[in-house]
Symmetry: C2
Subunit: 396 residues, 2 copies
């Protein structure tokens, strides 16, 4: 057994997350641990909630980070809002809609699925038909930004439809928050969860959530107890809720919360609109370079997430070998496809701190070299064409 | 809203946890984030599991950290081992036995309680009687080290009793791991969970668990699905399990795992037996000082946890004011009592990295000064007597 300290290599993270973490965030996280009930810490928690409200564009009182990764944030939404026997309409156009279905069923509720092709946006017409056909549905659940395919759906329209049919909404914004507009109040979304390791460029392990007053009312009117003690917001809010008193529920992940606070301060400094523009700018340069190599993005243009680009793996290219070579030769990580997309796409992230010119050029140069290399003799056109196209995009 | 970075004060953490984190751990945590499927990270995960096996004194294959705090580790044990309709015998002699009951009930199972006084060990005779009276019980659940009172119970005897009655065991070792002997294989314990922020001196946010083969078999033979998707070990083990392949389940808290790895390397360097002796040594000095001040430990001598000392709050001393003064004047955190112990005890931790001579003297000197101060005119005997008694204890 090793008794050596672990020293990770310095990668560039251009997969679906975790994305590169800002050195400021890493440094903040390494500050001395203090108690989770320390009055100074409680002040920090209040700031953190305000900063999250800014990121989510909401004034929701219940806005806080769950002390566990995004999938626990998802489960927190379902476990608190569902009771056995409820009906939930779940949209699926990728992996995470399927995970929502699992959550619904494990809560003893019924999921009515609205399926769209992987790599395509959610069709609001189908959702409307399903809402009409299921007047007893309590909740509409969908993924705003599908991390498995790089597709974004029209959260505003979907929330409006849900409200017309008297449904609450659960919205997955794991990959969108901080990278592309998430407008919780404008959408009138009811329960929204995200992750820290995508466009917030924070370490993985926390899941910001925000709940509307309507959602809170639904929780307060439950007839049964939430099946998870750890995720029961009635209890969690004794610690994270408003008011002076902070009752112990679980020990908060103190240092990870320092990290999230710092990541949100950085977002606030840049400004949300600027961050969204930056993601769009570098996405366009990346796109130009990818197309100049003769590769294609699988998602139609108006359905793409700028921060997560699904690139079709060209014929003759060996998925795993190429990703291994990028990692070995360039310390560059890109993501594989999931489920039916495995072996068919690469997921190239440009998220948060990692969304910059340097990384666009690194990816394009490295990918061109590897694709034309010995292990993957794919013809990608003129040497340097991809980088040139990206630079051309920046100069426009 | 603040857009300032957060700079915590440098506290000395002598409460019930989080305890002071080693600078080595903080530094390890701030190393660059890499992907949760990076082959280098996977190697680190394997080392981490081996190091946890050492800490738990087990060869259990399923030994890993849950990606959330100790209370999620507790819930992982209950949610995976229980099915609706099961009967669980739960011992309660403090807060955490009560939390176990909550977990049992939320799994749709029935808790048969064995109650002991708060501040006293679990009585094996009562447990035996309850096992006899409930031949259908599937599990015996108890807390080895009650964090709310500083009591330790005889895990070895309790596990033996459970086995005689064909029950599995769930054992809470949150506060014991690394501070006082936890012998999972010798006890033949079946599902054991701990926390990182106690005697491992790591940051809060992770929960190491270990499951015996018998417990794993029970999970594999479930008739119903685990009600939590996030905590379902059948799924989690696709990522953390043995074998080469690591399937994505959730995004691991990469940097927190660096921290835990480093904390366990430190434990291995010192050696478990040495760590246990160190906790006993400083506990004895602390005890001598506390008694020299005329204060009393509420737990009988042979039931005490060396790493968590429950001190009776003397008449005339105002709990909250004194703790606030220790924090303000000495940057020293000690813990309040919980539940029926609130206002009656202070919890003074000597855990992991914080268990040292310097902290013993700091606590005794500061407490003597504050107790004799203007806000809390408690007579504690001769000036300096507490520190002198501790030093005398060390010289023996």
């Amino acid at each position: 057994m090793s008794t050596q300290s672990f020293h990770p290599p310095q990668r560039t993270l251009m997969g679906p997350g975790p994305s590169d973490v800002s050195p400021r965030v890493l440094e903040a996280m390494s500050r001395p641990t203090i108690g989770h009930l320390d009055p100074v810490f409680v002040t920090m928690m209040d700031e953190l909630k305000d900063l999250l409200r800014y990121a989510f564009q909401t004034s929701n009182e219940l806005t806080m980070p769950v002390s566990a990764p995004g999938s626990a944030g998802m489960e927190t939404c379902f476990a608190n809002l569902l009771e056995p026997g409820d009906t939930v309409i779940v949209c699926q156009n990728g992996v995470f809609g399927g995970r929502m279905k699992e959550n619904v069923e494990r809560c003893g509720a019924t999921a009515v699925m609205v399926e769209d092709d992987w790599g395509r946006t959610i069709d609001p017409d189908k959702v409307e038909d399903t809402l009409k056909a299921n007047p007893n549905a309590k909740i509409l659940a969908f993924v705003h930004a599908e991390t498995s395919t790089g597709v974004q759906s029209d959260a505003s329209s979907l929330c409006a439809l849900a409200h017309q049919h008297d449904c609450l909404t659960i919205v997955d914004c794991v990959t969108s928050l901080g990278g592309t507009p998430v407008q919780v109040d404008e959408w009138q979304a009811d329960a929204v969860y995200s992750g820290t390791q995508k466009c917030l460029s924070c370490v993985p392990g926390l899941s910001p959530i925000t709940f509307s007053d309507r959602a809170m009312e639904s929780i307060q009117n439950r007839k049964t107890r939430v099946q998870s003690w750890f995720m029961d917001l009635n209890l969690v809010l004794g610690y994270w809720g408003g008011g002076g008193k902070r009752a112990y529920h679980h020990t908060a992940p103190v240092n990870s919360l320092y990290a999230l606070h710092e990541a949100l301060v950085i977002l606030k400094e840049e400004g949300l609109e600027n961050a969204w523009q930056r993601h769009e700018l570098h996405h366009q340069a990346l796109r130009a370079g990818i197309e100049a190599m003769g590769l294609t993005l699988v998602v139609p243009e108006n359905e793409r997430l700028p921060q997560l680009n699904a690139v079709a793996i060209p014929d003759g290219a060996e998925d795993a070998i190429i990703r291994a070579q990028l990692l070995a030769d360039y310390n560059l990580e890109i993501g594989a496809g999931l489920g039916p997309m495995a072996g068919k796409i690469w997921r190239v992230g440009l998220m948060g701190h990692a969304c910059n010119k340097r990384n666009v050029l690194l990816y394009l140069g490295a990918m061109e070299a590897v694709l034309n290399g010995l292990n993957a003799p794919v013809k990608t056109g003129d040497k340097g064409a991809a980088v040139a196209a990206a630079l051309e995009s920046y100069s426009n």
